[in-house]
């Protein structure tokens, strides 16, 4: 599929032709195209009553600059807006008061409205699937006027939302919209090239693209970019951009799968499986030599339980003469319901876990004594809990999927539940929001102690 922003800078005429042939079979959206300030725009043909040449407007005193006046359309009086002024685009030098203007008459839900444009181009049929959603980089032209962007014949058309243009007019009449200084000749000459420039060169608009990905990650995967994971996010963004441009694919995330691909290298090592030998050694180095008979541990977001068993094995080895109590929670009932009686292939488990394996009639699982160290609970971490004070909290890659507010709340909860000597283990690409409360443990994998 063609893309809006990325492809513009590339010469893709050849592909264009191929796609054009494919697309022609799927035409389900027609639009009237026209130009404003030298750029191409479109409006849904169903909203266009007719194409007209306007002359002899009747000027309405004390109206907004972009209201050119009223017009007598075969007996019906309609108002005429100038889209160039509304969008702060340059009006041709011969000025707005020439005799005849090109325009469209729009038939909207509530009324009929005329708009003045530079020139009418033609009618284009496209497939509505090819319409890309509006992009935050369209800074100057308020995003609510834009229904989407579509590419056709090597040109990029911005599809305007006729209804919202009309809504603006009504809103403005009520005087509830801030407007540019009210002299009728107001024209924002400088802003025009800038606005158009944004659309044409996405490279210059890295910020909005990044923000757009932030938004779509949230929408598609419930992943919230905050200082918790921002370092990873920024690194991944530049890598992603290179990758997608090389592949000729769109930078934007358009579906859950794209978001999943974007997040593919976010997850910590050995997510969803037993920790390998090396990782186990790294995590066990983090554990301190605190006293007490019982070691209390909390594994938040344990999923199917692989992580919990790995952790339990590390703790059992490190604190061989103490009682281990590990609470493992997840709010995904399906995932956690198999955790307590996890079965696996003996060949798949690392050496340090083999000690606890037993083969029964159902298959290979863990010994009861070992399993009794872990309490798998169907629990939502945002609800209150009755856990005792803890020696270690392992919460890998779960905070990032909480709202910023909940991230903060849960981290505070972790802080309160941890013993003074306790350790917090986060995901490989996460760090605590409030660095003044947490101090990274030297030479350890994303682990923190209270400071």
């Amino acid at each position: 599929m063609s893309s809006a922003a990325g492809s513009l800078v590339l010469d893709r005429a050849e592909q264009e032709q191929k796609e054009g042939a494919e697309r022609s079979t799927l035409v389900d959206f027609k639009m009237v195209t026209f130009s404003l300030g030298g750029k191409d725009y479109g409006i849904d043909i169903m909203k266009v009553k007719e194409i007209a040449k306007f002359s002899n407007f009747t000027y309405v005193p004390n109206s907004y600059p972009y209201v050119r006046g009223v017009y007598n359309l075969r007996g019906d009086i309609i108002s005429i807006l100038d889209l160039r002024i509304l969008f702060h685009l340059p009006v041709p030098k011969d000025g707005p008061l020439t005799n005849t203007e090109n325009g469209l008459i729009l038939r909207l839900e509530e009324n009929v409205l005329g708009v003045v444009v530079d020139s009418i181009d033609k009618v284009i049929g496209i497939s509505s699937k090819d319409i890309q959603p509006p992009h935050p980089i369209f800074g100057d032209i308020n995003i609510k006027y834009i229904q989407g962007v579509v590419e056709n014949g090597g040109r990029l058309y911005i599809i305007l939302n006729a209804e919202s243009i009309c809504a603006r007019e009504e809103g403005a009449r009520k005087g509830d919209l801030p407007l540019p200084p009210g002299d009728p000749g107001y024209q924002h000459e400088e802003a025009a090239p800038a606005a158009a420039g944004y659309v044409q060169s996405p490279a210059g608009g890295a910020e909005p693209e990044r923000d757009f990905i932030r938004d779509t990650l949230k929408t598609f995967r419930g992943f919230y970019v905050t200082p918790l994971n921002e370092e990873w996010f920024l690194r991944r963004f530049s890598e992603w951009k290179d990758l997608r441009q090389r592949e000729g694919a769109d930078i934007q995330l358009k579906a859950v799968e794209d978001a999943e691909t974007y997040l593919s290298n976010f997850y910590s090592a050995d997510t969803g499986r037993f920790w390998n030998e090396n990782l186990a050694v790294q995590y066990s180095r983090v554990l301190g030599e605190s006293g007490g008979k019982i070691v209390n541990a909390w594994n938040v977001g344990c999923g199917r339980g692989y992580e919990s068993y790995s952790l339990a094995a590390i703790l059992s080895k490190k604190y061989s003469n103490r009682i281990i109590k590990l609470w493992a929670n997840d709010n995904d009932l399906i995932a956690i319901s198999t955790a307590a009686n996890l079965l696996f292939n003996e060949a798949d488990i690392p050496e340090y876990l083999k000690l606890y394996v037993v083969t029964g009639k159902n298959g290979t699982g863990f010994q009861t004594d070992f399993k009794n160290k872990i309490f798998f609970e169907y629990h939502d971490a945002m609800h209150s809990n009755t856990l005792p004070d803890l020696d270690i909290i392992v919460a890998r890659d779960m905070l990032s999927f909480l709202s910023p507010e909940n991230q903060r709340k849960l981290l505070t909860g972790f802080y309160e539940k941890l013993k003074p000597t306790g350790v917090l283990v986060l995901g490989d690409n996460e760090r605590p929001l409030d660095s003044s409360h947490w101090e990274p443990i030297q030479n350890a994998r994303s682990s923190y102690k209270k400071s």
Binding site: A340, Y378, D380
Partner: protein
């Protein structure tokens, strides 16, 4: 709530309801609740003690309660009289007892208290320090929400 506890309650509720009502029972999606729970009108409560502490609450509207009592007694009841109340208590007892029996087989030791029945308008049950598992059950005569809040003794 420990995952081992969930199935016994879900299975016991389903089995018993299906058996005593003799009609189709549909289980809704399970979920967790932490805030105080409004009670629909009739609530039967069974306390749990032993390895754990907690309670099971059977929550339904008065109409549903009368409907269930009518079906279980094989006669048409119209008010929430003593017979209807005793029937709902018995239902709560049967379900909790079967769940506890299943849990016992899994190696968890629970005791239960005799059921208590509450009826009234605008009631609310608060046990905000323990998160409750909600098992919604759809019956021919309405719905029952089985609200299980159990915590380990530390």
């Amino acid at each position: 709530m420990r995952v081992e506890y969930i199935n016994p309650f879900v299975e016991a509720s389903y089995n018993i309801l299906k058996e005593v009502l003799g009609s189709e029972v549909v289980r809704g999606e399970l979920y967790l609740k932490s805030t105080s729970t409004p009670v629909l009108g009739v609530a039967a409560l069974v306390g749990l003690a032993g390895d754990v502490e907690g309670r099971v609450l059977f929550d339904m509207t008065k109409e549903t309660a009368i409907g269930i009592a009518s079906l279980m007694n094989g006669e048409n009841l119209t008010t929430m009289d003593d017979l209807a109340k005793a029937t709902i208590q018995e239902l709560a007892n049967m379900i909790t007892a079967q769940a506890v029996t299943k849990l016992h087989d899994l190696g968890f030791k629970f005791d239960l208290t005799p059921p208590a029945l509450f009826t009234g308008e605008n009631m609310e049950v608060s046990s905000s320090s323990v998160e409750a598992l909600i098992v919604p059950m759809k019956l021919s005569c309405g719905k029952i929400e089985i609200n299980v809040a159990i915590r380990e003794r530390n």
